[in-house]
Symmetry: C2
Subunit: 246 residues, 2 copies
């Protein structure tokens, strides 16, 4: 393995920063774990020691690398990081999909991935250009949820659609013709919930695709935050899944 | 007015940074606007010029203060800021309340305030210790929604409760006894939705108060992000308000 560098999206590896994300990486993506980095003073941390034991038991090398940790965490107080190999996920044709069209904010993206795992959306398509889902800031904001999800990238929505033509498509738009509750009441067996960019939403062309959905809210705000809209949309659709209605 | 300083929570004034938040401040809290600051190159920005005209029409002094803007925005590219007088809000006894118990993350708090306005929760109680709702980062994350809300601070939940004994209390907890849907179906005419701290949630004692609510999610995540949970809770309760069911 070459000398480790500060993260860059062109690198074939990334970092799960912090004890919790690094532990999730080891638990759910062990075959991609390359090396555990710990800070010099980490012997004092019970959490790091536990992680270290688990990594060693899995045959993953562990090394003290305080300076590198400082560099990759941008001086946040970080005592451990898992170096992991990036890998493109494979979406399952079964079950619901979450499709993120041009997401640009890393914190939002991480929060959305965590929420997706919480509501059972284990297959996430990201349409480029998009924030890098392997950026350490995204992985950290996701609390490591990224390691339990299949995340697959496409250059266009059409390319995604070609791979999964059977999913009912629900683009979330301010101008969506169908209120969320109604869309949920008539939902397809397999749904693709499509969310647009933080600032610009989905292109107007999505109003011709599937069943465009709006989340009713007052005119006092321009729009909901993307992560909030995604959370409400996933919650509402998940409540009405076949065989798991509340 | 004394020489303006970088923001500190003990100051009697704060800053609405950015054209949109500053405009919201002027529109919804004009009597608290003290001065408009603009950058030297702001004559090129149509948005700043429009804001400047509106401020001058309202009799609010406008001045070029690029260095101060840089300082208070921490070098973000910010072309305008409204200096405004802080003021404690008065909660209305009518309608739903949102109660935030020890919120600590500024970005989350701003996002929650914006969501609250979107779902018609115009009365927000904040139980201290808490992130400062007048911090420029909170105001900015709220997109200026803070200026359309009544935000009132209490030192304890009991003090809030004494002021508003008639609201049905719904503490959101991982261990809440009632799933969200059920709680919404039997909701009181006036509800207080109570959300805990990002890291620690609500103290266990809240399980004895009102109807503790849980948002069902998989065991694959420890918890939802606070802003997401608050968004889902407000959305769900708002759908079933008297006379405005969907």
């Amino acid at each position: 393995m070459p000398k480790l560098a500060a993260y860059d999206r062109n690198l074939p590896y990334s970092y799960a920063l912090g004890i919790f994300p690094a532990t999730e990486c080891l638990k759910h993506a062990q075959d991609r774990c390359m090396r555990l980095l710990v800070s010099a003073d980490s012997a004092e941390s019970e959490g790091v020691m536990r992680l270290r034991s688990a990594a060693e038991a899995a045959g993953i090398r562990c090394e003290e690398a305080g300076r590198l940790l400082e560099k990759i965490s941008r001086k946040e107080n970080c005592h451990a990081a898992m170096v992991y190999r990036k890998a493109e996920g494979q979406l399952s044709p079964d079950g619901d999909h979450l499709v993120l069209h041009h997401p640009s904010d890393m914190g939002n993206l991480g929060t959305i991935l965590r929420t997706a795992l919480g509501f059972g959306y284990r297959n996430v398509a990201i349409i480029r250009p998009a924030a890098d889902s392997d950026d350490p800031r995204v992985v950290r904001a996701s609390m490591g949820a990224a390691f339990s999800l299949a995340i697959c990238h496409y250059d266009t929505f059409e390319a995604y659609r070609t791979d999964f033509p059977e999913h009912g498509v629900y683009p979330f738009m301010l101008t969506g013709s169908t209120p969320l509750d109604e869309a949920v009441a008539s939902r397809a067996a397999k749904c693709a919930l499509v969310m647009g960019n933080e600032a610009t939403g989905l292109p107007e062309s999505f109003s011709e695709i599937g069943m465009p959905v709006r989340i009713p809210h007052s005119g006092d705000i321009d729009s909901l935050n993307l992560a909030i809209a995604a959370g409400i949309g996933m919650y509402a659709f998940a409540r009405n899944r076949r065989g798991e209605c509340t």
